[in-house]
Symmetry: C2
Subunit: 346 residues, 2 copies
Amino acid sequence: MAEQRLEINQLGEFGLIDRINSNVELSNKSSLFGIGDDAAVIDGGEESILLCTDMLTEGVHFDLSYTPLQHLGYKAVVVNISDIAAMNGRPEQIVVSLGLSNRFSVEAIDTLYEGINAACKNYNVDLVGGDITSSASGLVISIAAIGKVKKDKVVYRSGAKENDIVCVTGDLGGAYLGLQILERDKQVFLTNPDMKPQLENFEYMVGRQLKPEARTDIVYELAELGIKPTSMIDISDGLASELLHISINSGVGIKIFEDKIPIDTKVYETAAIELKIDPVTCALNGGEDYELLFTINQTDFEKIKNHQDIHFIGHVHDNAKQNLLITKQGTPIPLTAQGWNHFKKD
Amino acid sequence: MAEQRLEINQLGEFGLIDRINSNVELSNKSSLFGIGDDAAVIDGGEESILLCTDMLTEGVHFDLSYTPLQHLGYKAVVVNISDIAAMNGRPEQIVVSLGLSNRFSVEAIDTLYEGINAACKNYNVDLVGGDITSSASGLVISIAAIGKVKKDKVVYRSGAKENDIVCVTGDLGGAYLGLQILERDKQVFLTNPDMKPQLENFEYMVGRQLKPEARTDIVYELAELGIKPTSMIDISDGLASELLHISINSGVGIKIFEDKIPIDTKVYETAAIELKIDPVTCALNGGEDYELLFTINQTDFEKIKNHQDIHFIGHVHDNAKQNLLITKQGTPIPLTAQGWNHFKKD
């Protein structure tokens, strides 16, 4: 009888992470928090040290036929900075590991680093090291980032409490739509190479996909206003997936309202009219927007209720088994995470 | 006229790193030392924080036809710990990013992590995070490590001074020979699949290649003896290459003696008799031994002169343009670094 083989896609990324984590025991007293949040937390005296890493691989996270190398470098840094921001931290250093094939010229690498350096400059982060090696196949970029945050200001996914208000920054669904537009254009081009890309009306979404920003600005603003979120996570896999992370880690339930989910008009129209897909689904499951999802105590609401870029989409309740989206018609729908599963079978 | 295209192999890895570094300006006061040593140094109060990263890619750094996944996981951790040791530091945390294809089962990943966890346990390091994603092709492992070291005990490549003694731990050339043996066996097997691997006589070298160790033991011993090396680097690219790094960074010249280079008898015999290659060349240019190369002030010599595992191979002089190997016959030969060039054209 053949031995049973468990496929990665049967577990998914999160299942795999849980499985790995179940074999890990932290033995250094400086390891304050390990696997299971946006970044690890390491004792650094008055300020804790945050450490995170993200890997982008060609053909999975990016397609070089429509991804400018400069944007790719920028985005590779931003996704890590976003993880530091999600812990309420201030990013300070990164190291960059690159796997390259011979098809890249030095000029191409220069362009990639122009993007990396631009992101470092924008977020006041220093590139302090890395590794460059060849890769037998596609381009691989792996970045690790270090951040700092006062010991008592670290925000985990696990701190949401009953009656907290659920907040989200910016707008959602754009990055996913940008990807759909770019993919559509690529297919058109492959069929008819004389066609010019028709991206004029979709600049906003394409920009959200190719050159996202991390919301460190919100982290700094909240600190100035004296607000420490009770829980926080960045939206890399989609609003629904992230809400469920907070729910599971905090042991609470979350109720959000469809009509409160921030969706830009351009995103809404492109989804509904151009691509004939549900804009709310894009926001819930699209991912890669790199906005922040966080919860605050009700007493902090007054301080940010008029903030232009923070939206209040729901609240926390005590039934951890009940995560609901209330539709515009008032119908409650259970929230399920589709997120990204890179390992799904095609 | 076609635009000039600069190929990566024209610059090499070190040339590329210099090029990248020339565009980097450190802006955070916590960034004490950036690109250009075994790890970056970040201000952490009384103890400085060390940060390094290393990426291993399938088909370049390892061949899964003869590399057990458990050993691969172990080695991926060790090469990072070795970088922390080379800064005179104590490794404490790692994050692991994996790029995987669907051909890996969950059981295979379990095996890889068994090796990662074994290395963590042996070196008292905590696995605190990571990223798991799919890769369009081969396996990619990228690890970043954090270490600590008292602020005044950080050892750079740049501190070697005239008259210092050049020291090397363990023995050299074994890892390179192990790779040659494994590659030879693979070729034999490809030609005749019924042949059984003949590795009995080569266990030592094969072990050096597949499951190297980092010399944190030496770092701790030197600290106990009150010795702070004046410069240090780990031997990943080969003795010659690392000596030249110390020479360039310290602005000094180094003279080493062929008969002092530590080469194990098994390594010597396998090289000279079995593979008909020069054992000294293996030690100088083979790489991947992960021993430590360091310099000490002469006043520290007494404390370690009888150490079984530290070898005194030469000394430092003030002519930075002259790095010499003195042969057994007394002939001086200029040291040149061949090291590894992953980007060489085949």
